[in-house]
């Protein structure tokens, strides 16, 4: 493959590229999807191709192909150059440059104890059928579905800095849902643990079949539950729920490409400006967010990003103050930084790498003895929320509204009854300022997000978040109703 990467880079250099990279991507996917008692899909997908990215006169070009003869590779690089020349017809005010990065030559392989592609397909299908059967055996469960989705990703990245990287990762994503119907009411309950960078051992650990009945029974409980009360009250949120809250209200607003306006037509912009680094109060002093693209099992732990930058760990928000941003080699110099934070990734060989959320987590509380029960015991009237549900946020990342997967009323420090149709609404910084207590490290849990959409043409990306249980005071609850 080295011969082909050298060829693509030579063509780009000869055409005057100040920077070029070529990314060969080999991807294998395996999906098993069960609806009710029917195996709707069991498949394996293989995809192999490459993309050449060139920077000519400060303008970008990109071309991809699935043809691997030398002539094809050279032609693809030439097409990338041609698109760069077209880009220069509507040039940037300041020509694009890449922040410096040392040349890396490395071969890395992510964690995978049990190759999911070696697990018999029948075993994987039977697991989902057993889980759905168990759910459907619970009275009032009208529907159930489950999905196992495995990806093996190999990227070979070479660039004109002299980097040559051979990187392999394996990802596993389980999903399971029961739907209860009672007296015209329909409510769902899900497996809420998210995905992981791991092999099939991750699926064995979470015991979908063993937990299926509990989740189905909770769906029934939810369908029979009272509706969400409306008013201002306190919230206790579990780590799996908080993953999505931080994803939308912390991860996306701190992407530098959004701050620069590059997502204005699609995903939107951000309430942050570059001058806010070091001074913006994002939340109260309890709030600490860390970027860690080396996180064990993290879906964003890719060793090197698609800019060829070695992945990093750094504080994003420290004691409630914004300290840094997610950057790429192109965006970092625009705000005067001379290195990238390693947040540039592409979905596939045919996609241009863009500024992407890293693994991002909330630090647990300093006092490890604080338990979730402690948080609940200090609430007179509030709601405890587990798992992810409805989620929506405005394009500048201020106004958000979230639901969840399971809800319990808290009255006088105790969980008193299940609820349904719970939503809460807040403004981002007001919300993070209202956090008054966080449980200890032993309650911290990760949650892998499998499908974060961004960019045009649209791209999917994955990353992991994490948190311990947190309490928030005085939040607007129950505003969403017919």
């Amino acid at each position: 493959m080295r011969e082909l990467t050298d060829l693509a880079l030579d063509v780009a250099r000869t055409a005057g590229a100040s920077f070029a990279d070529v990314r060969f991507v080999e991807e294998k996917e395996n999906r098993i999807y069960v609806e009710r008692r029917s195996l709707k899909l069991i498949d394996e997908t293989e995809s192999f191709g490459y993309g050449v990215r060139v920077l000519v006169n400060g303008a970008w070009g990109f071309a991809s192909s699935t043809h691997f003869a030398k002539d094809d590779v050279a032609r693809t690089a030439q097409r990338a150059v041609a698109t760069a020349k077209a880009s220069s017809l509507v040039p940037k005010a300041i020509q694009a440059v890449m922040a410096p990065e040392p040349a890396h030559v490395d071969t890395c392989k992510g964690p995978c104890l049990e190759d999911p592609f070696e697990v018999p397909t029948a075993e994987k299908a039977e697991l989902l059928l057993d889980a759905c059967n168990t759910m459907l055996s619970v009275p009032s469960i009208a529907a159930a579905w489950g999905l196992l989705w495995f990806i093996k990703l190999r990227r070979v990245i070479a660039n004109t800095d002299g980097s040559y990287l051979d990187l392999s990762n394996c990802f596993s994503n389980p999903m399971l849902e029961a739907v209860a119907v009672i007296n015209g009411e329909s409510q769902e309950r899900n497996y809420t643990g998210g995905a992981s960078q791991a092999g099939y051992e991750f699926i064995r650990q979470i015991d979908l079949v063993g937990n299926a009945r509990k989740w189905a029974e909770e769906a029934v409980l939810k369908a029979k539950a009272d509706d969400c009360p409306a008013g201002v009250m306190d919230l206790v949120l579990d780590p799996h729920h908080l993953a999505l809250t931080m994803h939308e209200s912390v991860g996306h607003p701190t992407e530098l490409d959004r701050i620069l306006g590059w997502e204005a037509n699609m995903a939107g912009r951000s309430f942050i400006s570059p001058s806010d680094i070091g001074s913006m109060r994002y939340g109260n002093e309890l709030i600490n967010f860390t970027v860690d693209n080396g996180l064990d099992g993290g879906l964003g732990s890719w060793f090197y990003d698609d800019d060829g930058v070695e992945m990093k760990s750094f504080p994003l928000i420290k004691d409630g103050i914004l300290k840094n941003l997610g950057t790429t080699r192109e965006t970092a110099p625009i705000i005067g930084q001379d290195f990238s934070n390693g947040c540039c990734r592409a979905q596939g060989f045919q996609n241009v790498p863009i500024n992407r959320q890293p693994n991002l987590y909330m630090e647990p509380g300093e006092d490890d003895s604080v338990t979730p029960e402690d948080l609940i015991s200090e609430v007179d009237r509030g709601i405890y929320i587990e798992g992810r549900g409805s989620f929506s946020i405005d394009q500048m990342r201020n106004n958000f509204q979230f639901g969840g997967d399971m809800f319990w009323m808290i009255e006088e420090g105790r969980l008193t009854k299940p609820l349904k149709k719970v939503t809460y609404q807040a403004q981002t910084r007001q919300f993070w300022a209202s956090c008054d207590r966080i449980a200890g490290k032993r309650f911290w849990k990760p949650f892998g997000i499998w499908n974060c959409g961004k960019g045009e043409p649209a791209q999917r990306m994955m990353m992991t978040h994490g948190a311990s249980f947190c309490r928030f005071r005085g939040i607007d609850v129950g505003g969403a109703r017919l």
Binding site: K40, W60, G61, A86, Q187, S392
Partner: protein, 432 residues
């Protein structure tokens, strides 16, 4: 390079000839595209690429398996067949498996493939973008967006002798233009280059952006809304999923027990049309079954929900292979006519980040974006700040006051602007 139809047919025949399973279905897909992205009045990404793939599903009895590859060579295709058959042999029985259909007769749909799109080069796309960034810059505004041109082929063959082939071209442009305190957007889609004029769309987005500057905060609450066609399709985005017959029969959607019942206002009729020259349908859908015109809602009454092949067999009815393009009946006037007939309400240009709050009630939440205007006594009086809504499309389509003439929008619908009463907004935002 795009393969010719007869080459694709021969390729699929070759794949099927390697299959030993009694049932097999092979699908060839090809896509090439140019996509140029711009922001802050400059091109930020520019890509070109093409890819082809073959997917194969085989079944031994009711044990089925599938596989996809983008490596189209003799050795890889032989491996595809071997792998797919191995998956199928080891799969559990599927009680809902339906064998591939036999040969079909396909409708002749209006032309969807235009050579003028194939001739587009990156310089042409850059030229279109330049027209928009130039007018935005002239007013001190920032334009961003995406322009795409490409062609696609989909061909399907199965072991029962079916062969289906479709090719089409796509040309699309979307832009969002920001001023210091407000934004506007516009988009267009066509199968031909002539069908989309980036300059006109840029002007439209710019005019909205200029009108949207310095919005005043407005209290959330129930308002009469005039939703432009873009906002209408934004709000109805989950309709194809929610009109599934089996989900309704199992009681998990708002359409449970509603077939034959009146759910929407009299003026609302919803159909899938296949022969509109401005928005022709693909000639076939699920498993190569021919597209056909279908009326889903007639004068507010739910006439039909969408059946997949298994549920259609179970319910002794015909399957519904396609749902899009969607057409909603309209009136004769324009958006401006709706505004003239509105005593007090909000004109909504676009909705954003729409999600279910409760699927059974079809209660959705989301935000307004790129232009929200207060209408009083038949006139747009001022821009107002964006709002979050919590509302159901069912209520929206029940409370219809009036409809404009339908317009093509989004590349998948022809819908009117809709004026509807009692639309619930629940909170505000400072976001412009």
């Amino acid at each position: 390079m795009m393969r010719k139809r007869n080459e694709i047919e021969a390729l699929l025949d070759d794949v099927l000839s390697l299959v030993t399973a009694p049932h097999a279905q092979a699908t060839f897909e090809y896509k090439d595209r140019l996509a140029t992205r711009f922001a802050e009045n400059a091109i930020t990404q520019n890509l070109s690429g093409e890819e082809e793939s073959i997917s194969l599903t085989v079944a031994f009895g009711s044990r089925h398996g599938s596989s996809i590859t983008n490596r189209i060579d003799t050795e890889s295709l032989a491996k595809l067949v071997t792998r797919t058959e191995a998956i199928a042999r080891n799969s559990p029985q599927d009680p809902e498996y339906v064998a591939p259909p036999g040969p079909q007769q396909y409708p002749v749909v209006p032309k969807r493939f235009f050579d003028d799109v194939l001739a587009i080069r990156p310089e042409v796309l850059a030229g279109s973008i330049g027209k928009v960034t130039t007018i935005a810059k002239a007013d001190g505004y920032q334009a961003s967006g995406l322009i795409e041109a490409g062609s696609s082929v989909r061909a399907l063959a199965n072991s029962n002798g079916l062969f289906a082939y479709d090719q089409h071209t796509d040309f699309s442009f979307s832009t969002t233009i920001h001023g210091p305190c407000g934004s506007g957007s516009a988009s267009g889609y066509s199968n031909s280059k002539e069908g989309v004029n980036a300059g006109i769309l840029g002007q439209k987005a710019l005019q909205t952006a200029i009108s949207a500057q310095n919005p005043e905060t407005i209290e959330p609450g129930d308002y009469t809304v005039i939703m432009e066609p873009q906002a209408v399709i934004d709000f109805l985005v989950f309709l194809p999923r929610d009109m599934d017959a089996r989900d309704a029969d199992e009681g998990t959607t708002v359409f449970a027990d509603k077939t034959g019942a009146k759910l929407f206002a009299n003026r609302i009729s919803i159909s899938t049309e296949i022969d509109d020259p401005g928005l022709p349908a693909a000639p076939f859908g699920e498993d190569g079954l021919p597209a056909r015109r279908t009326v889903w809602v007639k004068e507010g009454i739910i006439r039909r929900l969408r059946h997949d092949r298994f549920w259609a067999q179970h319910k002794n009815t015909e399957p519904d292979p396609i749902f899009q393009p969607i057409f909603i009946s309209g009136g004769k006037g324009s958006v401006e006519d709706l505004v003239r007939n509105c005593r007090r309400g909000l004109l909504v240009k676009k909705l954003w980040y729409i999600r279910y709050v409760d699927r059974k009630e079809l209660l959705l939440t989301g935000m307004t974006r790129n232009g929200l205007f207060l209408v009083e006594n038949g006139k747009i009086v001022r821009p107002v700040g964006n709002l979050r809504f919590n509302e159901s499309p069912v209520v929206f389509l029940q409370n219809v006051v009036s409809l404009s003439e339908p317009q093509y929008v989004g590349g998948w619908a022809k819908v009117p602007a809709i004026m509807s009463e009692g639309f619930t907004f629940s909170s505000t935002t400072d976001s412009l």
